[in-house]
């Protein structure tokens, strides 16, 4: 999960409250051997298990105070406490989130990713059967899955209808061949993979240094931070907005492409600005091979388009361009809820969206920076106060600027929010050895372990 963006079509996120440290630690010790490693994922299993803990979870496990305080401030505070930074205000504020997010009770995240719905059910049953009779309370479980395509088979297309999961940072030493466009853009159109320390603790990062991590060292080793966001998508509102902002279906698709930075097929505007080219979308050598270096004004792909904001590559002419490589995150996520029927532009009131999983070594420098500066501000790209048109905290007053060649820029006014935050948490994703450390750390267990009930 830390060095591989998962491509499993099915997932289930379990959230547990850890009620009894001894029982929880004993269970962690027993289950640690089942947690997915990179080697295990590369064998293409039919399911994987990943475990992550919030700071409250580490506290509930009885981790010593000195160790707890060695974690970075953003993680200790948690996502809800950082809401103002993240644009999670108004209707997105933590008091409106779905339970149990933001309550402080989501101590442990146990995510099952699976190749089929059956494999998911089987793995979830086995997970729940492994639990001790008391000590870990299941407080939520959330199913995610790729949406069915026209023939009923799952397709990597999110609720708004865009192909998803194309752009990912390539990471040095990840064992995956670097694809052009996925690392960091160097001089003269060269690309190189990002240093592993941007995504895994205890490794050299883009400055060449190894950043200080949680203590003791065994705890941080091969660990990282997992940011979970549950985002509701206002699909009907999105479709209606496209319809009212465009004269015909072709113009709708062009506007949809400009908001995203890719045609709905996944073809990047930077590669094919004049029209969709599905062959380019399907070609892994082409669907990421662009840097915006020849499009600094945003004529091919608007400066404010979603994917350009999420990764500006070499496309920032201003001073903010020098540190793009320090604000990358590994993204993976799957839709939840059922698709709004094709063509419907009235809201059916159903909950639908995506559970996004972001991996980064430094929550404040990576996820929070992206959210605050690249998503919910425009100044870094000379766009004033404009926000991301797809996921920004818009409220009907913002705009989206489309630079054009040889004629004045077009500005789309009155952008509503197409996404609402329904929850989220910061988790620490420990390495396997760290899981064993957690299982044995803390004060001596006061009670017999569940294997030997009293």
């Amino acid at each position: 999960m830390a060095l591989r963006a998962y491509r499993f079509p099915f997932g289930r996120h379990h959230l547990f409250r850890l009620a009894e440290a001894g029982a929880a630690r004993a269970w962690l010790g027993r289950i640690a051997g089942q947690v997915a490693t990179v080697a295990a994922v590369d064998r293409e299993p039919d399911h994987t298990l990943n475990l992550a803990l919030s700071w409250q979870g580490l506290m509930a496990l009885g981790l010593p105070e000195q160790s707890l305080q060695s974690f970075p401030e953003a993680f200790r505070q948690g996502m809800a406490a950082r809401a103002a930074r993240l644009g999670d205000t108004g209707g997105n504020a933590p008091e409106h989130w779905d339970a149990p997010f933001g309550s402080g009770d989501a101590h442990l995240l146990a995510t099952i990713s699976a190749a089929t719905a059956e494999a998911r059910s089987g793995a979830a049953e086995a997970l729940l059967a492994s639990l001790p009779p008391a000590g870990l309370d299941l407080i939520d479980s959330l199913d995610v899955a790729l949406l069915p395509g026209p023939d009923g088979r799952p397709v990597p297309v999110e609720h708004f209808g865009y192909r998803d999961g194309i752009g990912q940072p390539s990471i040095e030493g990840s064992g995956i061949d670097a694809i052009r466009g996925q690392g960091t853009a160097g001089a003269g159109g060269a690309w190189r993979p990002l240093k592993p320390g941007e995504f895994v603790l205890g490794q050299p990062d883009e400055t060449g240094e190894i950043a200080a991590g949680p203590q003791p060292e065994a705890l941080g080793r091969n660990g990282t931070y997992l940011v979970l966001r549950k985002l509701h998508q206002h699909v009907a509102r999105f479709r209606a907005f496209l319809r009212t902002s465009a004269a015909d279906a072709a113009e709708e698709e062009l506007l949809a492409a400009r908001l995203m930075g890719r045609w709905r097929s996944g073809t990047p505007l930077a590669v094919s600005p004049g029209g969709d080219d599905p062959a380019a979308a399907a070609d892994a050598a082409r669907n990421n091979d662009f840097s915006y270096a020849e499009d600094l004004k945003g004529v091919a792909c608007p400066l404010g388009a979603h994917i350009r904001r999420m990764n500006p590559r070499a496309g920032l002419s201003g001073p903010a361009g020098a540190s793009v490589n320090r604000h990358r995150v590994l993204r993976q996520g799957l839709p939840y809820g059922t698709a709004l029927p094709a063509g419907a532009i009235a809201d059916d009131g159903a909950g639908r969206g995506a559970v996004i999983i972001l991996i980064n070594a430094d929550i404040a420098r990576q996820f929070e920076f992206v959210q605050k500066v690249w998503t919910n501000d425009g100044d870094f790209a000379g766009l004033g106060g404009e926000k991301d048109p797809i996921i920004g905290a818009n409220d009907g007053t913002g705009s989206f600027t489309i630079p054009r060649s040889g004629q004045p820029r077009r500005r789309i006014p009155s952008l509503p929010a197409f996404v609402s935050t329904r929850g989220g948490e910061y988790f620490f994703l420990p390495g396997i050895r760290a899981l064993h450390h957690l299982a044995s750390a803390g004060p001596p267990m006061p009670h017999p372990t569940p294997e030997a009930p009293p």
């Binding site: 001073p319 020098a322 540190s323 500066v373 004033g384 106060g385």
Partner: protein, 150 residues
Amino acid sequence: MGVLRTMGKINALTAITKIIPGHAPQLRQNLEALTNASGGKIASLGTIHIVRWVIFDNDTRLLFATNFNGDVEDYMRDFAERAPEGIDAIWGHCEGYPGARDYPKLRDYILGSAIETTGYYCAYPEATVQDILKALDWKRKFDGFLDQIG
């Protein structure tokens, strides 16, 4: 953040640090060099409206007063990564300075030596450095256009 004063998109930060005895002449020279030539590295940050350093109290203390856009954390970190030698050249002459390469320590040092802003006014609180530079550029171009057709 109590020591940070915000008006619209502009933040004020004022910090006072103690100069290591005997270091004031070198510090004075470094500050002059750093701020000459249109600010150099400072300008390249793109978010600092005005920054002022004052050596006072008979060469014993340094006042740092700045007005900038955006989150102090986001930009101070980028600056510390991109120009650590510039930061070292200033606060390296002050007591208790932890160095620019350990960002959390640097932040704690600067914010720890910051003092509360009592009164604050800005004539253009909603304009960022980028907005202003862009507007001036447009005015220059527009004037050029008028000159040509006039």
